[in-house]
């Protein structure tokens, strides 16, 4: 048991201003690089906690803290209280380090903390090469009781190539428990934690002649995403170890107590070293244009659940990528499907092979394909080109061309492409139901012109004509009106003249002529003579015709008295008369 662990070293400078006393302490000022110190700032008699900026401490990094603590004490009947802030710090480098002079505020007043010197030495065993004998640098330290070592399977890698990092805890003391304070981190990596048993298995080992027990606490795969010299920050553990208590107890009980839970424990912060890695860029020679960043060894495969379906029935098309490498870090572009296939966004699955340190797994994309039209289609092959870091060459894996046979659908729902919005809306709709209203079916009407047309037109035209028809009808009823008499004068005269069958019936002829003129000119026919006829007609028609009719009238008059003297008989005269009257009628 070394005194420095028992000793709490107080390096303090105190200022008594009123009742408040402010000072800082560390639990140890002589440590190895992988050990931590507890830095405390104590304010006695203050009301509030001290306030300070810990980032002024440049030589150490903060693992945890600040944690606040209040304590009360009665000394000689007087109560004193103190407020404590504490941090766990780890050194950043080897050498004589110091916690600088810092100013701190307590209850609104400024105090100054004096600097603290801390000596940090190299840990003899876990240094990367580990060639030096332990205990040479510092006789007091000897081989460390416990240390954490980071190991990697390679120190040089290609960008995207997996590097497996192991964190091994070596211990000479009994480890009660540990917790991870800080996981290793680095810029320019993609990290994936690998499987490690929850309960680390301890094995016996010898490190430079010293007996240790070792356990792999943490494993991870890192994939450099950039190239160059990359640094992986250390991992920090918080361990609780037993203090072997030989000096306290009699040898008789020693084994019993040191093995049991009566044994005293102490808490240690253990830090690993940082890892330096050299990452080479992927060679440009042979790099395909569509390279998506695959590094490792992969096989690509694709298949469909069925290759012969009816249109509109779903097909599951699966692309499967198997292999080892940065499988999670790159994606596959979907194959170029034929336009007539409807493709739904793929579901992607990833199944990791948990128990292998090389990231290995199966990545699967499931596409649902719905062919809309019958026919034969091909899903073109897909190719993945990857860089194989082992052979340092470009390799590729490709799928086979898949042929699909789509049969015509038994249902009408072939959805053509290039639909308008209205048509898509219509596709969702069903047709309307049939008309079931009973009705009288009629033979197909071949004739263009319907009865409606005939009747409506006839009636309509009749209506237009009706005023004229009504008038004509009225005229007919009271037939002696002058106009109708005039219209029918010739017909009446002609009819009567035809009835002349007697050779000497000259009287009828003359009477008919007078009646004709009476009717035609709307004058009384009784008392007309040839002179009157001549005078009336001469105003309206040519004298030849007038003379002719006058001559006929005279012949008639002569014939009435001396029928024998006439050279023409009455029948012939009647015919001549009707001819002449017709001529006259046209002129009047």
């Amino acid at each position: 048991m070394k005194f420095r662990f028992l000793l709490s070293l107080f390096l303090f400078s105190s200022y008594l201003i009123g009742d408040i006393k402010v000072y800082s302490t560390v639990d140890d000022n002589h440590i190895t690089i992988n050990e931590a110190i507890n830095f405390k700032v104590i304010a006695e008699g203050s009301k509030g906690f001290p306030q300070l900026d810990i980032s002024q401490v440049a030589d150490f990094s903060v693992i945890s803290g600040p944690s606040q603590n209040s304590s009360f004490q009665w000394i000689n009947g007087e109560m004193s209280s103190s407020k404590i802030l504490s941090w766990t710090l780890i050194p950043k480098k080897v050498g004589n380090l110091r916690i600088p002079k810092m100013s701190v505020r307590v209850d609104g007043k400024k105090y100054t903390l004096s600097p603290i010197k801390i000596t940090v030495i190299k840990s003899p065993v876990y240094s990367q090469k580990g060639k030096k004998k332990q205990g040479r640098q510092n006789k007091e330290t000897g081989p460390p009781e416990i240390f954490l070592k980071a190991e990697s399977d390679k120190t040089e890698a290609f960008q995207g190539e997996q590097i497996t990092v192991y964190y091994k805890l070596y211990t000479r003391v009994k480890l009660r428990q540990y917790s991870v304070e800080k996981k290793p981190q680095g810029v320019g990596f993609w990290q994936e934690e690998l499987y490690a048993p929850k309960q680390p298995i301890l094995r016996d080992t010898r490190v430079e002649g010293v007996q240790y027990r070792v356990a792999t606490l943490y494993k991870m795969a890192i994939f450099p995403t950039t190239n160059g010299d990359l640094l992986l920050d250390p991992m920090v553990l918080n361990c609780t170890v037993e203090i072997p208590g030989k000096s306290r107890f009699s040898p008789f009980f020693d084994d019993f107590f040191s093995d049991s839970f009566f044994g005293r424990t102490k808490s240690l912060v253990v830090q690993s070293q940082s890892l330096e890695l050299k990452v080479h860029p992927i060679p440009d020679v042979g790099k395909p244009l569509n390279y998506t960043g695959a590094v490792g060894r992969f096989t690509l495969d694709s298949y469909v659940d069925t290759s012969v379906v009816e249109a509109n029935q779903a097909i599951t098309f699966t692309v499967e990528l198997k292999g080892t490498g940065n499988i999670k870090l790159f994606d596959m572009s979907p194959p170029e499907f034929p336009q007539t296939l409807e493709i739904f966004n793929p579901k992607a699955f990833f199944k990791k092979d948990e128990f292998r340190d090389d990231i290995t797994g199966v990545k699967r994309w499931e596409y649902i394909i719905i062919p809309r039209k019958a026919g034969r289609y091909f899903i073109p092959q897909q190719e993945l080109t990857y860089f194989n870091p082992q052979s340092e060459e470009w390799e590729s894996s490709s799928t086979e061309v898949i042929s699909l046979t789509i049969l015509p659908s038994k249902h009408i729902s072939d959805q053509p492409t290039g639909l308008t919005k209205e048509e898509i809306a219509l596709l969702e709709q069903d047709i309307r139901y049939i008309h079931t209203k009973p009705m009288r079916l009629k033979p197909v009407e071949r004739r263009l012109i319907s009865l409606t047309f005939i009747w409506a037109n006839m009636l309509g035209l009749l209506l237009f004509a009706s005023p004229k028809l009504v008038e004509a009808f009225r005229t007919n009823l009271n037939g002696d009106s002058g106009i109708s008499r005039a219209k029918r004068a010739l017909r009446k005269a002609n009819r009567q003249l035809k009835k002349v069958t007697n050779h000497s019936d000259f009287e009828t002829i003359s009477r008919q002529i007078y009646e004709y003129f009476g009717n035609k000119l709307n004058i009384p026919s009784v008392g007309l003579d040839s002179q009157q006829v001549q005078s009336i007609l001469s105003e309206q028609i040519s004298s030849d015709l007038v003379n002719e009719i006058v001559k006929i009238i005279e012949q008639c008059e002569q014939g009435q008295f001396t029928p024998e003297s006439q050279e023409i008989n009455a029948m012939e005269l009647a015919r001549t008369a009707s001819l002449v009257l017709s001529k006259i009628d046209r002129k009047l």
Partner: protein
Amino acid sequence: MIAERIRILIIIMFPVFLMPQSSYIDSLFIKANQEYSAQNFASASNMYHHIMNQGYGHADLFYNMGNAYYHLAQLGDAIWAYEKGLQLNPRDGDLRFNLKVANARMIDRVEAPDSFVLLDMYRSIKYGFSSRQWLDLIGILVLISGLLFIVSKYVMISFEKILRKITWTLLGIALVSLLVFFDQYYELSKREEAIVVSNKVDVYSAPTNLSSLVFVMHEGTKLKVTNNQPPWIEVELIDGKKGWVTTELIREL
């Protein structure tokens, strides 16, 4: 002799009396509708077809027939029946709707070249009525204007001027309708249309299988028949593509 003449006149004027006993047909129609309701679309379509072959025609008959064909997945025949029904009643909403639904499921999209807006309007008015409907409309217009004429002359003499104006306007519309009718009738008498009823039709550049394939048509496409040379006919699509097909693959409207 006179009695005979009167009979003929009556037959011409009221052909209802000439109707053969059609109760059988009517009951067949009802039966077909029942078959349709019972999802027996094949037998329903056969019955509708039978009624049609007996020389009967009605927009509803073709409508129901089209529905039956539709359910039988005979898209081309369904479209044919709807088109046929629309010839009889161009403004039937159900027919138009179902035709649209059926057309939306067609594989071919034949785009008609854009035409002048006013011309489209005129065409839609022109084919908004069948030829018979146009003529009936004209008859009714003439009748109404005749009645108005009488009213203006004898009944409402004080409104004579206005009524006369309306009368002449109606007569003017009747005259325009007559012109539209003649236009439509002339176009229809020239035009022969058909619907593709086969699932897939190869259209050749000449009336022989040995000629080159011009394009491929699918069920339901409407065609114009431009030439006939049995068993081949020349068809034209509304976008202007032309070619020869065999008659059994299409169904003339």
